[in-house]
């Protein structure tokens, strides 16, 4: 046995001499081929004549409105939703005050979420407090980029019935989806540190400041216009909340975005403030499928009620004044424009 081991050892010497010995392979490395993608077709754009029209003009409100929880008009989108038993909605998950998850309760909440609850109650009836318990709404948290595709796909193909996602009404989007009447007047502003001494975007431009905006947003397009802001140093981040981090870490001097989003940032960081006037207009509307005109009319009817019965002001106070994000008084609800 011992001799056999010795022979094996001698053979091993010879083999090792021939082979150059064993070796430890490199670490396992996985290369994943990028999925074959085809470039999406270019988004349709409005003609100059179309763009000149008022984009906030929507379909007239349904009149008379069906009773909440009662029979919805036969063959309508509302009847389809009522029969399904829940409204499928697309919202933001991280826009504090408009659409974000409360980590203590686990619930999605905000001004946009409450707007959708108003729509759900108008279809199903019941009490406001019971919307979540009765699962009258199925929430789908979506990104900015997913808003239009989710509406185009529809709920049967992984999409949604309606989107409330700080979405600006504009002419190009009307070519793909339909909007309700305007439910909030937003605009682009800047957020700075309280002790920065900065008062507006012009001062930032004059001082050659670093201003952060999310990549691919209309906000970054606005400040990248060198003709208007030749001095700004644009800092791009994947997400608007990454811009707040950049401001807190000193990687940016200011953040620009819709005043609604920036108000949420002030609520998260009291050492910051929103300064200056809005330098763009961002009228928000609820988005729906372009073919669901009956549903748009119904939602506009809901919004009419919300404006006229004081509910809009209550929600504004709840989310934007009581939280300290904006200073009182609450403005008048934005006026609806119809006639599309």
């Amino acid at each position: 046995m011992r001799r056999r081991q010795s022979v094996a050892a001698l053979v091993a010497v010879a083999l090792w001499g021939c082979s150059g010995g064993t070796s430890l392979p490199d670490a396992v490395s996985v290369e994943v081929d990028a999925p074959a993608t085809t470039a999406p077709p270019p988004a349709p754009e409005c003609s100059e004549a179309e763009a000149a029209e008022d984009a906030t003009r929507s379909y007239g409100p349904l009149s008379p409105m069906p009773a909440p929880g009662g029979a919805m008009p036969s063959g309508s989108k509302m009847e389809e939703i009522a029969q399904r038993g829940r409204l499928i909605v697309g919202i933001s998950g991280d826009t504090l005050l408009f659409g974000s998850r409360n980590p203590f309760t686990g619930d999605l909440e905000g001004f946009d979420v409450d707007m959708l609850k108003e729509v759900a109650l108008a279809i199903f009836g019941g009490r406001y407090e019971d919307v979540d318990d009765d699962e009258l709404i199925e929430y789908r948290v979506i990104t900015y980029a997913q808003r239009l595709p989710a509406l185009e796909a529809g709920p049967d193909d992984g999409g949604v019935d309606i989107v409330a996602h700080t979405m600006t009404i504009n002419c190009d989007r009307w070519l793909r989806i339909a909007f309700s009447s305007k439910y909030y007047d937003a605009g682009q502003k800047v957020l700075v540190k309280q002790d920065s001494g900065i008062r507006n975007i012009g001062q930032l431009d004059a001082e050659g400041a670093r201003v952060c905006a999310p990549l691919g947003s209309t906000n970054i397009d606005e400040i990248s216009d060198e003709a208007r802001y030749p001095g700004l140093e644009v800092v791009g981040r994947a997400d608007i909340s990454d811009c707040l981090v950049a401001l807190q870490q000193g990687d940016a001097d200011a953040v620009t975005g819709d005043d609604t989003v920036l108000a949420g940032f002030v609520a998260q960081d009291p050492n910051t403030q929103v300064v200056g006037d809005t330098f763009t207009e961002e009228p928000y509307g609820l988005g729906m499928n372009v073919d669901d005109i009956d549903f748009v009319e119904f939602v506009n009817g809901v919004l009419e009620d919300v404006r006229s019965n004081g509910r809009w002001t209550e929600l504004y106070e709840k989310w934007l004044l009581d939280t300290g994000a904006l200073d009182p008084p609450a403005p008048e609800p934005p006026a609806a424009v119809y006639g599309r």
Partner: protein, 421 residues
């Protein structure tokens, strides 16, 4: 005429005797030099092999240690991301586990930095600095999250990017550690080759000397009509014993080193799968944190999953780990189905271990790979110790044998040379 012929024959005999004496002296000198060379080169080769195997052992130990840092770190990150989803309901035990993993990684970074070259030390120093920043970002994420601020998610994402990211321009800890691991792998393979080459010196010098002694003995036996030159025969026998014993010992050393490398590879693969598994868990939680925007994290989950699966596939003794990982992967699919169909809360409950058995499956995989990794790393170290065992003594024996053979050969040839004085 006869006288002249006899004188010629006598001169011829004298000349022949002179040539034989010269040959004797030449053989004596050459064999003595070969014996001294055997003592020098043989022992030097053995010393080099011994040192090379010791380097392999140290580099193996460093490789495992660096991999353990990587595992500690990705494990900490997976706990931090899962805990973020729990928010204010964070499990205190998980918090303790996170802090322990960070402390372990920090200590291990200090330990490992003491035994690597300057390039690797610089990488580890950078990793250490990044780790400090990572801990700060996680605390920021946690603090914001506990106040209900969504910006915490951005800090959590940034923290994860410090651990690992795809952007070549942004340094991350995992990439730095992998570079150190690769450097240790290169050292292991380079020094294994050195160990192999060093063994040839003993063999070449030993077998050459033995050949010279055998040829010399045969020539002496034919030339002087004496069957055996005792001192040279003793030298030959002694040398044959030492060379055969040495070759055999080196063969065992080779077998031990081979086995050690095979075992180390098993530990290496198990640890790689373990690190990739924890990375997968981090990406799983991040996809849920980035609710609605987690496609990039799911893509990275797939890469981590494939890395873990391939590592387990190449590992010879990771069958139970592979089965557990397969069950975890199936559970992850169910989690994705839940999230994609709108049941985000259900998906979170699954990743936090409150339902669906996902965490149990993952823990089974993590425990199994840890066991394989630890066992095989210890065995590899033991076998590399065995590979060195006896080489020091063999070196002394080689020097002694070479010198004794030199003396015996000098005596043996000297006995014949005396006949010509």
């Amino acid at each position: 005429m006869l006288l002249a012929r006899e004188a010629g024959a006598a001169l011829g005999r004298l000349a022949g005797q002179g040539r034989t004496a010269n040959r004797l002296r030449g053989l004596q000198a050459a064999t003595v030099v070969a014996a001294i060379l055997f003592a020098l080169l043989g022992s030097l080769g053995l010393a080099r092999r011994d040192a090379a195997i010791d380097d392999v052992r140290q580099a193996s130990s460093q490789l495992i240690a660096v991999q353990n840092i990587r595992v500690s770190l990705v494990q900490a990150d997976s706990i931090a991301t899962s805990s973020y989803l729990a928010g204010g309901q964070e499990d205190p035990a998980k918090r303790t586990e996170y802090l322990a993993a960070i402390a372990r990684a920090t200590d291990q970074l200090v330990d490992v930095s003491n035994g690597v070259d300057s390039a690797d030390a610089a990488r580890l120093a950078e990793a250490s600095e990044l780790l400090g920043g990572y801990v700060g970002l996680v605390e920021q994420a946690r603090a914001n999250n506990r106040q209900g601020f969504p910006v915490g998610a951005a800090y959590q994402r940034q923290a994860n990017a410090v651990v690992t990211n795809d952007a070549p321009e942004d340094a991350d800890i995992v990439t730095l550690l992998r570079e150190v691991e690769q450097s240790q792998r290169a050292t292991i393979n380079e020094r294994l080759d050195d160990a192999h080459r060093a063994g040839v010196w003993f063999d070449a010098a030993g077998w050459t000397l033995l050949g010279m002694i055998v040829v010399g003995m045969l020539w002496l036996a034919r030339r002087f009509k004496r069957l055996v030159n005792v001192p040279i025969a003793v030298a030959g026998v002694l040398l044959a014993i030492v060379v055969l014993a040495g070759t055999s010992r080196q063969g065992s050393s080779v077998s031990d080193a081979d086995e050690a490398v095979g075992t180390l590879q098993t530990a290496d693969l198990a640890t790689q799968s373990r690190a990739a598994g924890f990375d997968a868990r981090s990406q799983e939680a991040l996809a849920l944190i980035n609710r609605g925007n987690g496609q990039a994290n799911e893509a990275r989950w797939l890469i981590a999953q494939a890395t873990a699966a391939q590592s387990l596939d190449r590992c010879r003794v990771c069958g139970p780990s592979a089965l557990a990982f397969g069950r975890y992967s199936d559970a992850h699919e169910r989690l994705r189905d839940a999230d994609d169909s709108g049941d985000w809360d259900g998906a979170v409950a699954m990743t936090l271990g409150n339902q669906g058995g996902l965490v149990n499956e993952f823990d089974a995989f993590a425990d199994a790979t840890e066991s394989v990794s630890d066992d095989n790393a210890a065995r590899a170290d033991e076998r590399l110790g065995d590979a060195r065992s006896g080489l020091g003594m063999l070196r002394i024996v080689t020097i002694a044998a070479g010198l004794i053979v030199a003396v015996l050969v000098a005596i043996g040839y000297g006995q014949r040379l005396r006949e010509y004085r």
